[in-house]
């Protein structure tokens, strides 16, 4: 059995955490950008929905700044050297938002008026 690479940190490896604080900062930035991309995805869906159902589209677009803001809120439970940790609440909010948006989309898809052949025009 070989020893793990010294540069291969394990969860709770305090020595690795102490030497990688800079990387944790970049991880925070990457995660913030990921939240921004998610907000843009919501905006794309809202834009598509605006064509079909204005009210539903506006509801989804109204969620966009909330999602963007969620990614920038200070994180709860800072226990490791003041570094932020994720809270389950914002993850749950995203999940609920996507499920709600999916249900709205399903209603619009099944009951809403369609524009057949719009992609051909």
């Amino acid at each position: 059995m070989t020893d793990p690479e010294p540069s291969d940190p394990k969860p709770g490896d305090t020595a690795a955490s102490e030497t990688e604080e800079g990387d944790a900062g970049l991880a925070l930035e990457r995660t913030s950008l990921s939240w921004t991309r998610t907000a843009l995805s919501f905006a794309a869906l809202g834009g598509v929905m605006l064509r079909e159902n204005v009210i539903t589209g506006l509801i989804i677009l109204a969620v966009v700044p909330l999602i963007w803001r969620l990614g920038r809120l200070p994180r709860s439970g800072s226990t490791l050297g003041g570094l932020p940790t994720v809270g389950a609440r914002r993850i749950r909010m995203i999940t609920v938002s996507i499920v709600g948006v999916s249900l709205l989309s399903l209603l619009v898809a099944v009951l809403g008026p369609s524009v057949p052949g719009a992609l051909h025009r």
Binding site: P11, D13, A27, T31, G117
Partner: protein, 132 residues
């Protein structure tokens, strides 16, 4: 494990003491969060695709419900992916806290199976609509 036990382990704070274990390396926590967000964007893309198919594609000749056959499963898969992604985030975060190996993800399997299913339905709908 019983069904209620599995649900309790999946739901945050339901099956185990939320304060158990130790705070994981923040990089792992952030990576887990980014993975969840990537799956969320995949779910949203599926919803957009399903909505576009139902609302914008021209109707298939001889298959009046063809667009719904293709689009509705994609929208439903979007909702399912979002829920499963949340469960996976909880399981991964719990494993990180305990120092356990990360659990195997079922999401690629769900995504691959559903996309393969939609591809088969697409082929069937296209074949039927082409047989005029």
């Amino acid at each position: 494990m019983s069904r209620s036990g599995r649900f309790a382990a999946w739901w945050p704070g339901g099956g185990a003491d939320p304060g158990e274990g130790h705070e994981p390396d923040p990089r792992f926590t952030f990576a887990n969060e980014r993975t969840f967000l990537a799956w969320s964007r995949t779910a949203l893309a599926l919803v957009i695709a399903g909505l576009g198919i139902v609302q914008l594609l021209p109707p298939f000749p001889r298959v009046p419900i063809g667009r719904h056959l293709l689009g509705v499963p994609l929208i439903v898969l979007g909702a399912v992916l979002a829920i499963v992604a949340y469960g996976e985030w909880v399981r991964n975060q719990r494993a990180l806290r305990r120092g356990d190996p990360l659990p195997r993800s079922v999401m690629p399997w769900i995504l691959a199976a559903t996309i393969a299913g939609v591809a088969v339905i697409s082929a069937i709908v296209l074949l039927i609509s082409a047989l005029r």
